[in-house]
């Protein structure tokens, strides 16, 4: 399970697990680590240790070029699933990367900011993930290589309630996995 689904996310994860608060505050938006990978374990230390091991094993399986590695997040305006022209170009670059690597799949994780009702926000996050899925489809990525999941407001990239935090939380994360 882990071997299949965890990839290049993990070096970042290990960083996040070890980092202090100040490191997280300094990180620019594009480097915000996707959420930790370990599933429900009462023992935090064990969970982190196993995630770290899996990461080392899998970090080699998908290597993104530097210009994409730090650009795996598409941001959205309030109550919108519209993709900016700049991000359309970024999506095209990801589509080109996928075109050359048939064993690579992409999970699109949709998120909203903290405002509003939680389950309704799952719907809004799904809309964003689907918008990115359609954009990748238009760039020729096969349907079967893409999956979506909406976390709504449940996995903020950053805490806080001001517009700066909200803007960083309204996003779709592109998470590569190896088949």
């Amino acid at each position: 399970m882990f071997k299949k689904s965890l990839v290049l996310v993990l070096p970042l994860l290990v960083l996040a697990a070890c980092s202090s608060t100040s490191r997280q505050e300094e990180a620019p938006p594009a480097e915000v680590a996707p959420p930790p990978a370990a599933v429900a374990t009462p023992d935090d230390a064990d969970a982190m240790a196993s995630a770290g091991t899996v990461g080392e094993l899998n970090a080699r399986s998908v290597t993104l070029p530097p210009e994409l590695a730090d650009r795996r997040i598409i941001y959205f305006a309030f109550d919108s699933d519209a993709i900016s022209a700049e991000d359309q170009a970024l999506i095209a670059a990801h589509a080109r990367f996928m075109a050359g690597r048939t064993g690579v799949r992409l999970r699109l994780e949709g998120h909203t900011d903290q405002r509003g009702s939680r389950e309704y926000n799952i719907g809004l996050g799904e809309r964003r993930a689907q918008a990115v899925r359609r954009a990748l489809g238009l760039q020729g990525v096969a349907e079967a290589r893409l999956s979506t999941v909406s976390y709504g407001e449940e996995q903020p990239a950053v805490g806080g309630e001001d517009e700066a935090a909200n803007a960083r939380n309204r996003r779709v994360e592109l998470v590569y996995t190896a088949e």
Binding site: R118, E119, Y120
Partner: protein, 413 residues
């Protein structure tokens, strides 16, 4: 008048003392009364004779936190409670108690409650429920439980726990622990199980977990969204939200025993947050088919006809009916603030009952007298309650971390 002011002052002192007591009891949630009625009923509760546990203190805490009573010394009280503990069969403890009207001398209750020593708090809550009902003529829900989601850590490295606790926040017990989100806990009508959404596999799935044994079953794990589970009043069906391959959310009904699935809504809008009308004949749900989210009603059948229910304001979501079926608690947006409101289904009148800016996830207590919801205060997610008359408000705050998505369990047999 002077008497009322004096009572209010004494009431304030009692409240302050209670907050300390609950902190020292290592409760995960600390309860504070944030507003109360001006003239609560003065009552004196004597320590129960031979009681190894502070049962009488728990009775007093329940009554005073309700906001309808104030603990008082005997000369100033209208009612008195006294009791004693004695051993019962199989190692259990019986508490005999009496309620006396001090103004008339009339004995209003002379009853007993028997429980295992480990269930002494529940026994005390039952005594408080009896006293409350005898004096005020309406039911209370002290001897019930709540479930909520607790979140610790700094984003994006968060830890999520599903917690079940007594209605006063005591005896918190984690029934699920995950590094990925847990959402939307919903009690089965018999109080034995909780349905919830967990992302533990990095996709959404709905589980039904037996609270006592922690045994659980995945009841919906389709591709895409599996969300917002809601039990039918008979406990045999779950309304839930599923998405199509294109990501369109619709409300469905799942027969738990057979696994038969019925798609109720068929609309390209977001249709979600279903909940059953109290009599089981209809579903209320949130849809943005008219632009912003509003509340609608449909029969729980395939391709049901849909009626709009909410009309005031541009954002109304997450409906929960009152036990008598007459009202719908929901989230409404006022200006930029999200607040808890109650819609009277007959008259269409809407009352806003909360004052926060990010209030959400409302639900009624099983007696219908109180709403519980989640809010945000000084950067922390807290739980709050407000009486349906708007007079009495409480805050239940975690000693650390966020607490959210409260679900008030049913009366226990």
């Amino acid at each position: 008048m002077i008497e009322r002011i004096a009572r209010a002052l004494r009431y304030g002192l009692v409240t302050a003392a209670l907050a300390l007591v609950s902190t020292s009891a290592r409760a995960q949630l600390q309860v504070d009364i944030t507003s109360g009625v001006t003239a609560p009923v003065p009552i004196v509760i004597s320590a129960f004779t031979d009681d190894a546990q502070p049962s009488s203190a728990v009775v007093g805490q329940d009554l005073s936190r309700s906001g309808r009573f104030v603990l008082q010394e005997r000369t100033r009280a209208d009612y008195m409670v006294a009791g004693r503990a004695l051993p019962a069969a199989e190692g259990r403890i019986t508490i005999e108690f009496e309620l006396v009207n001090l103004l008339t001398g009339q004995r209003l209750l002379a009853e007993q409650v028997t429980a295992a020593p480990s269930a002494w708090r529940n026994a005390a809550h039952r005594i408080a429920d009896r006293i409350y009902q005898r004096i005020l003529g309406v039911r209370s829900a002290f001897a019930t439980r709540i479930a909520y989601v607790a979140v610790d850590g700094v984003a994006p490295a968060l830890r999520y726990r599903l917690v079940v606790a007594d209605a006063d926040g005591e005896n918190p017990r984690t029934i699920l622990d995950s590094r990925l989100p847990i959402m939307s806990p919903a009690w089965s009508p018999d109080g034995e199980s909780i349905a919830y959404v967990s992302f533990e596999t990095r996709s959404a799935a709905i589980y039904v977990q037996t609270v006592r044994t922690a045994a659980r079953r995945r009841v919906s794990g389709r591709a895409g969204v599996n969300g917002a589970p809601a039990w039918s009043p008979d406990g045999k069906r779950l309304a839930l939200t599923l998405s199509s391959a294109a990501g369109n959310l619709d409300v469905h009904v799942l027969e738990l025993e057979s696994g038969t699935l019925t798609r109720v809504t068929e609309h390209p809008a977001i249709d979600t947050e279903p909940v059953w009308a109290s009599d089981g004949t209809a579903l209320f749900f949130t849809s943005d088919r008219a632009g912003g989210p509003q509340i609608y009603r449909a029969a729980p059948v395939a391709a049901a006809a849909v009626q709009r229910v909410s009309f005031s304001g541009s954002y109304n979501a997450r409906a929960r009916p009152s036990p008598d079926g007459r009202q719908l608690a929901h989230v409404t947006r006022e200006g930029g603030a999200y607040r808890i409101a109650v819609l009277d289904l007959q008259s269409g009148a809407v009352r806003v009952l909360s004052k926060g800016t990010q209030d959400e996830s409302p639900g009624f207590s099983p007696d219908g007298g109180t709403l519980i919801y989640a809010g945000r205060e000084r950067g922390q997610d807290v739980l709050a309650t407000v009486s349906t008359d708007g007079l009495i408000a409480q805050r239940l705050q975690a000693t650390s971390g966020d607490v959210r998505e409260p679900a008030w369990g049913p009366f226990r047999p």
